[in-house]
Symmetry: C2
Subunit: 424 residues, 2 copies
């Protein structure tokens, strides 16, 4: 079988004509398939309903002398701080157990940098002429949107198999206007790669020119293996402290993909000095996060071991979905030599690199056939992929048979877009 590059014009034309007929048939099906977001599927949600089967009396909500039902304790109840410390490998005193959304905690940290300044800020960023921010690409669209919405200048750095291109990062941080960097260090969104030890050490050891540089460490997939055992991962807080950078790092995690998306609990983990600094600011903003939800979670998840057991049950649901996507891609796309894709061992995404200049067109064709994917370009700052190539696939929500259908259509659309690009 020839790849598209090897085909003659006539062969490509015949191929395209056949794909167009299939596309017309697909359109006629009136499908409505969505692989746009990393939403857990219903089977996962139903499984976790058991959290509500644990009976809790009034007295059960009193813990460490604190009535979790009443106001107060802005850093969260101690047992919730301990659970997150257990999962992340940091100390309970470094954890602020918060509300339901780690994204909101990240947004809030950036927002506070603008309105009030950070622990080592000379002034609030709102008073600065310009703020620049490092974005490994492809990366998480919601991260990029947060920093974009504050008017920052976003600097793309290529993501490699071992993490962001560190030579480039170390060069950029010499600029004092560069004040932060996004990271999803384990099972990165969307490429699925995990930062190597060397990358992590180089990040922890950075000496940015900006005194209030924010090393954002979104450990969203800290216990989210898709297959096999839990993969240990260094505690970035102690590493940064070892390099004299204790206050530089802002780690985040949540149970959104452990218990319930949007009804889980989130945390920020920072140096003890930063915990004090942020507690003082948070006390102005909120009397307390939802400590009843924190308590309910701790009663269910208990500790790292129990949480990892639950994650294996999630993996048993998610694994087949990821394998279905990879199988379909292997079958319907590999032969034509027009794309490559990731084979993640954890996280929530498959990252596909289409023939340059075809991603946007392929997803337009997908939409016509009733398949919604994350918008082309979304994985890049400002929503612009300079190669127009990267596509993020989120296999978690649809059932396997829908996934197979959707990926088959995606493959056809990628092929059509590639043929159009090559000339037909």
């Amino acid at each position: 079988m020839k790849t598209y590059q090897e085909m003659t014009l006539a062969e490509r034309q015949a191929e395209y004509a056949a794909l167009c007929r299939t596309h017309q048939e697909q359109k006629a099906l009136g499908l409505d398939l969505n692989m746009a977001r990393g939403k857990p599927g219903r089977e996962q949600l139903d499984m976790v309903m058991e959290m509500y089967n644990i009976p809790l009396t009034a007295d059960d909500f009193i813990t460490d002398g604190i009535d979790a039902r009443n106001y107060g304790y802005v850093a969260g109840i101690p047992i919730a701080r301990r659970l997150f410390a257990d999962l992340l490998g940091c100390k309970p005193g470094q954890v602020i157990a918060g509300g339901n959304s780690s994204l909101e905690m990240m947004f809030d940290a950036v927002s506070k940098a603008y309105t009030h300044g950070l622990l080592h800020s000379e002034k609030p960023w709102g008073k600065l002429d310009r703020v620049k921010w490092i974005c490994p690409v492809p990366g998480y669209d919601r991260h990029f949107k947060v920093t974009e919405s504050f008017g920052m200048e976003l600097l793309s750095v290529p993501m490699t198999e071992t993490g962001p291109d560190m030579d480039r990062v170390e060069q950029l941080i010499r600029d004092p206007e560069v004040r932060g960097m996004w990271n999803v260090p384990k099972y990165s969104n969307p490429t699925g790669i995990t930062y190597s030890l060397e990358t992590i050490h180089r990040l922890a050891a950075m000496k940015p020119a900006a005194p209030d540089f924010m090393l954002m460490w979104d450990n969203a997939y800290c216990v989210h293996e898709l297959e096999g055992d839990f993969v240990p991962f260094p505690d970035i807080l102690s590493l940064c402290a070892e390099y004299g950078n204790g206050d530089m790092v802002y780690e985040f995690a949540s149970t959104s993909k452990i218990t319930f998306p949007g009804a889980g609990i989130a945390c920020g983990a920072v140096s003890e000095a930063n915990v004090e600094y942020f507690k003082n600011l948070l006390n102005i903003q909120i009397i307390s996060y939802d400590k009843m939800n924190q308590l309910r979670h701790v009663r269910y998840l208990k500790d790292k071991e129990t949480t990892l057991a639950l994650m294996r049950r999630h993996a048993a649901i998610l694994g087949p979905k990821f394998r279905a996507v990879e199988d379909e891609l292997d079958r319907h796309l590999a032969p034509w030599g027009i794309a490559s894709w990731s084979h993640p061992k954890g996280g929530y995404f498959v990252s596909l690199d289409a023939m340059p200049g075809t991603a946007r067109r392929a997803l337009e064709l997908c939409r016509d056939a009733g398949v919604t994917m994350t918008a082309a370009g979304a994985t890049f700052p400002y929503g612009v992929d300079p190669q127009d190539s990267n596509i993020r696939i989120a296999p978690s929500l649809p059932p396997v048979h829908e996934l197979e259908q959707a990926i088959a259509i995606l493959c056809d659309c990628l092929r059509m877009a590639a043929l159009e690009k090559l000339g037909i």
Copy 2:
């Protein structure tokens, strides 16, 4: 019996000596009584635990075609928006049902004014030289702290029996640097007064020089009667709209004192245009608030009628506590003519005005005797009461016998401070 002003020096000295002896005895008791914050008491929390006795299956979390357990719907589930609209008298489309804290929603709205600007802002407030803000006094300390923390200049306006001094307010808003105003319009914190219809109309009709003026309407006690039937209150959103000021008002409410403090649900209610504006900003910040908690609340509170029935049960617990406070004040303080206090029909506070220049000293004496009250001055911007007179009493948390003990001590301390002021 003589008032302190009528006593001779010798009589005051004898009185003071007797009070000092009592104070020494009180100190020896080693009490630890806290009336600092408007926290519901344990009896109220235990009562509301019945919310968790309503069994909910997986299917129960699917409402209006939305799975409340999954991501999405940043304005909240429709049934939660309808419940708040029912309570506030506005339209469901004007409600953003949020997380657990209305204070956080207020902070967030102000923060967004600084970082992103509001619907009618010329630029983000962070780019302005100066922002001024109107604070009716005495008022809610947490409100004042929010605006103070952003570096605003806070302008005190006296609170009268019918609401803030509107002549003064209408004068202040001619200054384009005056960009907002705090209000707790029903059962105001701490004075307990409810704005008159005339005040409300004058506020709704204001034409501030600032195009993005924020009329903050913290309807914290919208259904929080302490005795008797629910007192209807105008819908500020439609009133503002009638006066062509639809986008000027930001209303807030929560179930923190209906269900659980810190584990309830909160809302913002704004014009439809503002809902759209804020939804676009919120979509950058959070994927969704805790919709499971929203749903659980709606299943329990159902509608306005059911909610009001629950509030009558809260009143049955709170009413006796407020009466105990007023009885103690009548007995131990009234005879000396050194203070006056409010007789609230709703809300969470009794506001006491001590002899000018004695509040701080009285609370210092209270602390010595193991009674913690909200700090003197807290009800004024920057924590400074120019009269050093106002004291906020929060009767909700302690049981009645502790309240009686604490208020008796407060009365003695107020008497000592007054005698010191008058000369002994």
